[in-house]
Amino acid sequence: MVTVSMKVNGKNYSGEVEPRTLLVHFIRDNLKLKGTHIGCDTAHCGACTILWNGEPVKSCQILAVQAEGADLTTVEGLELEDGKYSIEQESFREHSAMQCGYCTPGFLMMTRYLIRNNPEMTRDEIREQLHGNYCMCTGYQQIVDAVQDAQRKFIKSRK
């Protein structure tokens, strides 16, 4: 067992893990943050997407020990301090961009990254950027709508 320490959603955590423990298992089983999901085990589906120092990563492909000292954000960290929904959350809800919702946390994290790093994306570019996140329910149309809307809201919030 080894001790790992990291910042998750602004709070410092440390825990005892076997060195082989996957980061996604550490988040779900040790930290009990159940919003990050496992969908494929092989980095294709993106249900486990979190932000690592602001960059999206698939937490099923990373060991918890690799995240020593990292600053992570999971879906539980999106909500604002006053309990208001974030731009990404609002856009996904307003556009009904989910059905079973199992993929949604991964899409929300990817959206947070995309709108901050490439706010001028076209619809086709959004589709390309989302190809590492699978949704088996919606057919993606409302998800693309939601990301576009989040883009607009983000740009507006900066003005």
Binding site: K34, H37, T42, S96, Q99, M136, Q142
Partner: protein
Amino acid sequence: MSKLSTQEQVTAHSESSFSAKNVGKGVLRFEDLKIIKGIRGYADDIEFADQHYAAVLSSPYAHAKIVRIDVSKALQVPGVILILTGKEIKSLTNPMSSRAATKSPTSHYILAVDKVRFMGEPVALVVAKSKYIAADAVSLIEVEYEPLPVVSSIEEALKKDAPLIYPELGSNELIFDHFEFGDVNKAFKEADKIVKQRLKIQRYGSTPLETWNVNAYFDKTREELLVYATDQQPGRTVQSVERTIKIPASKIRLIVPPVGGGFGNKLAIWHFVALMGLAAKLCGKPVKWVQTRMENLYAFHRPRGFMDAEFAMRKDGKILGVKLSDWQADGNWPYVAALYSLIKFANMSGVYEIRNLSFEYRSVATNDPPIVQDRGVGKPFMSFVIERMMDIAADELKLDKIAIRQKNLIPTEKMPYTTASGEVYESGNYPETLRRALRLSDYNLKREEQARLRKEGRYIGIGLAEGIEPGTSNLGYYFLSKADQPDYNGAGQMSTVEIAPDGVVKVNMNGPEIGTGHVTTIAQVVSDVFGLEPSEIVVDASFDSTLGHLTYAGTYSNAFNDVYIGAVLKASEQLKNKVLSIASSVLKEPKESLFLKEGYVCKNIQTAEKLLSFKELAKISYGRLLSFPKDQEPGLKVVAAYVNPTAKPFVRSDFNVQLTHSNSVHVCYVEVIPENWNVKILDYSIVHDAGKVINPIIVEGLAIGSTVSGIGGAMYEEFVFDEQGINLSLTFGDYLKPTAMEAPELRIEMMESPAPNTVLGTKAVGEGGAITSLAAVAGAIEDALKPFNVRITELPVTPEKIWNWIKQSNEFKRISGGVR
């Protein structure tokens, strides 16, 4: 059912006091408020104290004898508390039997006993104190196999000397049957042309992003098995688990939390509920099993197969008769063998008048993995066959593809229409759906554009399909093939509605919520009964077998809109009636003068004078029993069951497989790129008629989503096996799903032809896209490849297949200058 009795239904339901205020509105889903915070509460998010974990050892062979299993090393791993193999299973459990097939094997258990029949079949189960230890121990189990000859195709399976999947049956043919309606021979004699084609379907399937989960705990103090599972059909699971592991159904509490996608894939989970239930009982610890994605891809797909179709055509395009011969490789899962074929009766005639029809089918056991009732079951392939045959007939008769359809569409004045086999199309306007789709898709403009672009050397195609989307299974038809009395027939559900002691209206539809918006939809319906806002209704998103349910409770067969809404509405109206009776007695006001609004019993429609709050009413009804009316029973809780009244009992000459029939037209516009033979969908239009729509946002989302799942089946998805039956598609790197990059932008328009035989006029919506899209996509690609003279008779249409079809053509020689 005759036309008359349908009309009687209309009268019966119009007497309901229901008035729509929130029904029909695009209310944003309440489910989403939890989902966007990551607190939906899926099965894997739930943990018992002292939680233990299970892992499964799967067979690496498609067909082999199990010579020896040695678990001694695995048992020595610290933390391992239980290992089960076929030996224990054979002594402790009953084998599973067929639901529809006439022959039932006696050797198929929830873990392989003596023999494995498909790659991925569970061979052993380990329970340990962590998921990592369980996986370690699985890898230390030693199994000696003796490979057996693999049966991988229908043709091989039916050979006289074929190795038998179930030797006790004496044959790999699990069922063969033949039906004939009208005078098929006469139709074929009178035909100007017989159009014949064999059409094939590959193995593919839905892959919900949440895999199967079971978490079981046997509580010794109550002698009760408590299970959380991602189960789409929990009512039936309880029955099957009782039969298999011999725990009485009354001692099984099965809870289904919100499910991360169903699509039918989770209808087969019951044998893992049985396995984990048994393990939990034996080890005394709560046992959680979370299926890996690889395990999810091993098995439980749609079956592969083919159908020989013959259409007897008059030269003007009129269909005189149809012969269909269906061959289905149902793998080895006797439980649902033949279901894919039987369900095809629901849309066998498509949207057309076909009075002379024969259908024969075979369900064949092979070393393919098991099948499950995946989205639409046999309906997508049936629709693919009919609509492809319409295109092929148009080609052979040199007729226009729209004109040949218009010639055969069931005229609106003949609705409700009974098909040759007895299926009742209760509502719909097929010619109008087609007209609107041609308009929505700018069909004529597209034809012009196609001609223009073809001159520029671009390969553009338009495909059109009009499909029936049946919903609400009349389940007894499985037993068309069986002489004995079915466990299930008809279609109904049971739900509970209450005003809780705090005055809040609560609903438990008691079915799994698989992501299709049940919570919001029900809140809309119930709010209208009680004069509340949808947000004020508390709707439970889970199933609990200790609450009122019928034994086939579950979310499947496109039936929510019909029987669950029926049950919820019935319970709501009974409760409302009780509320008004109590209020009338307490307030000493005539019952007819009272109504419900904003959480109050009110009188005087103009002023809506509030007389008694639900909260106060609940206090009286639950606690102040001396001031409670003597002719009423205390409490404000109603459990009601609703049965769709139009399910017919089964006779071979006249039966209805499903009870509602939505319809849609899909128009697909594609370009085939000759550089790499990739297909790009440029435009996709859908006109969808699902009857009365309760929430247009939800319905539109389902129509779009199911269409993209169908596009996956049409262009990308196939489970590929080598000649030894080894599944080569065990990650999403090999089993290709459409991503946001492949999915097209869809245009969608709704029509509403209300069903006369559902309480609100609703019809099915979850499967339609998956049913109708296959032929629309294939038709479009074929149309684009017209210069290459290609006929598309199988799916998925991949670039590799296109290349193989076109490389010998003159057109290819022309454009490539003879270079290969």
